[in-house]
Symmetry: C2
Subunit: 354 residues, 2 copies
């Protein structure tokens, strides 16, 4: 066969598993070979991709020989070391970590918004955005093309799975510990039940109980009280949309949902907006599903989004007191479009251009 | 005894029960009599208030004879009918429903913000604000006095108990049905489990599953896609703060928490703000607890707020791109300060002025 060779680094992780599911469902590129790469510990493991049993190989410089495109779903420090090695061996690295996103020589790509940037890769590396930013990019990109975005105030309702498998396991364990107990009615009762179940918060990947709770914290502390996650939403939105002076305030909050990030978005534009015009624009996007019929109580929610590829947009309202402003709500599966799917879409775009 | 006579209408409801707990804990007013009033169905029931067993009497015009202050924790339509009757019998009605909040002849009072309005009651009625608005009023009132508030963008994380006992029961039932099931990973799995447990969403007070979910909907549909809850946040904030042209956009979202509303607030002021100055102002308020030490992962969350009287404020940040702007997060028990406590504080203020 004459198709390009694709490698998946981190094939056995949470996002890697979703990536294999996505590759099974999309036949657009006739890859001549798919190579699964993981840590030495996972090497030799067998996984089925597109009906074919493949053996995972250990990460090494030689593992990239002959590879055209290498997708990385690994921690920041692994990407920082290995994406340049893949590039030096002739592959284009598509990296889903935070290691290269703000590097001026690395494009940060959401295909619906800035697919043209795929060709502009002096380091042989293309970055995939943070999942929270990604959830709103298809909608904001489409609205920006028409109305010119100026300001963004965003509050997130982020799923546990953004923190990986340990975070998912923790939420399930907390849910099980609290079942049948009428707690959440006085200070300390949730923590007492978790302690009694052998689940003290000190053992959790989260800084507070996640059941019966929302936690206004995601990522790590940066300057002046902002979190890394909130700064990613600001800085990555500016880079992807190509608006270096976009004004952004984000508050990132974890909620007791396994998968699907939601965002309440307040977006100020340079030109006049109407709900009707916004609906028309959003409904025309192939990767957006508009769910906005409040009279029938239809709006996007995580349980109706999880496992789906599109982002779901609803509750579109014209701000009553702010000119040229729309308020809306968006839900996106943070493991699919928020991670694996967008990475794979970049790889598809690269394959077309090879 | 020579103290005033206090009546509690709706003594057997969810908020009424919290009200009795609050009266037990606050001895500031030596009421000469506390009269418990409820529907005819609950009349004759015995409840203990401040160590004394009281018999609930049925709602009737005569029930208000001799009453100085009548607190109403009943549905809108009951208040609309009965608060004027109480007033006509000589009582001041302090009403926690939505019936009179926007009436220009009825003051809408948060004692920390506009206690002076207590004396201005041409109809003999004083209204208590909506619980979502109330959760942020102590903080915004204090910051407004110093910096002059101009604009507000708010996203809520609202507890189930805002919908009453049926809503609380529903959340507990959903939590129990999902325990031990690894759901929330594909579309429909949460709804399937609820259906199998005999808990179809069609029987729920909520328009979608609340477990494993967030629901961008609270209240009823008003003009142009806005909900009644979102408009209350806007209109009541303007009235309480005395800023008729305050610009407000609110998105109200229900989360799987039994009690305590949280809000992510983006507040724009006329004058220069700093986190240091805001901290000083907030820490000086007797009804606010400042929990804002991100380096130690200290910030307010619902499980550490529920059952407490103060509102908890944290994550105070100076906006990076908006002048004179603070972003912060606030948690308040929606049944206490959000409802019963504020109503009782108004009654205390009235008792001082009788």
């Amino acid at each position: 066969m004459s198709g390009p060779v694709l490698a998946l680094v981190g094939a056995t992780g949470a996002v890697g598993t979703v990536m294999i599911d996505i590759m099974d469902g999309r036949a657009s590129v006739p890859w001549s070979e798919i190579r699964l790469i993981a840590s030495a510990r996972s090497a030799g493991k067998k996984l089925t991709v597109r009906g074919e049993e493949l053996t995972v190989v250990a990460l090494s410089p030689e593992a990239f020989d002959g590879v055209d495109i290498a997708m990385f779903d690994v921690p920041d420090e692994v990407s920082a070391e290995w994406a340049p090695i893949a590039a030096s061996r002739g592959a284009v690295a598509v990296d889903n970590s935070g290691a290269f996103r703000m590097d001026p020589e690395v494009p940060l790509v959401v295909p619906e918004v800035n697919a043209d940037q795929i060709s502009n890769r002096p380091k042989g590396i293309i970055a995939n955005p943070n999942c929270t930013t990604l959830s709103m990019m298809a909608a904001l990109g489409a609205l920006h093309r028409e109305f010119e975005l100026k300001e963004l105030v965003v509050s997130s309702y982020q799923a546990a799975s953004g923190g990986g498998q340990a975070a998912i396991d923790r939420l399930y364990a907390e849910l099980e510990a609290l079942a049948g107990k009428e707690v959440g009615v006085r200070v300390g009762d949730v923590r007492e039940v978790l302690d009694a179940a052998g689940l003290p918060v000190s053992d959790s990947p989260f800084p507070a109980p996640l059941v019966q709770n929302v936690i206004p914290w995601a990522g790590s502390l940066k300057d002046d009280g902002w979190t890394s996650e909130e700064l990613k939403v600001r800085n990555e939105s500016r880079k992807i949309l190509g608006i270096p002076d976009l004004k952004v305030s984000a508050t990132c909050v974890r909620v007791p949902v396994v998968t699907t990030h939601s965002l309440a978005v307040h977006a100020v534009f340079a030109r006049e907006v109407t709900v009707e015009a916004a609906h028309k624009i959003l409904a025309a996007q192939p990767t957006i599903v508009l769910v906005d019929d409040p009279a029938e109580l239809k709006f996007p929610t995580p349980v109706d989004t999880v496992g789906e590829d599109p982002t779901f947009v609803g509750r579109v309202r014209q701000a009553l007191d702010f000119p040229n402003t729309l308020d809306f709500f968006v839900c996106g599966d943070n493991l699919r479009k928020g991670a694996a799917l967008n990475t794979y879409e970049i790889a598809e775009g690269l394959a077309e251009r090879l």
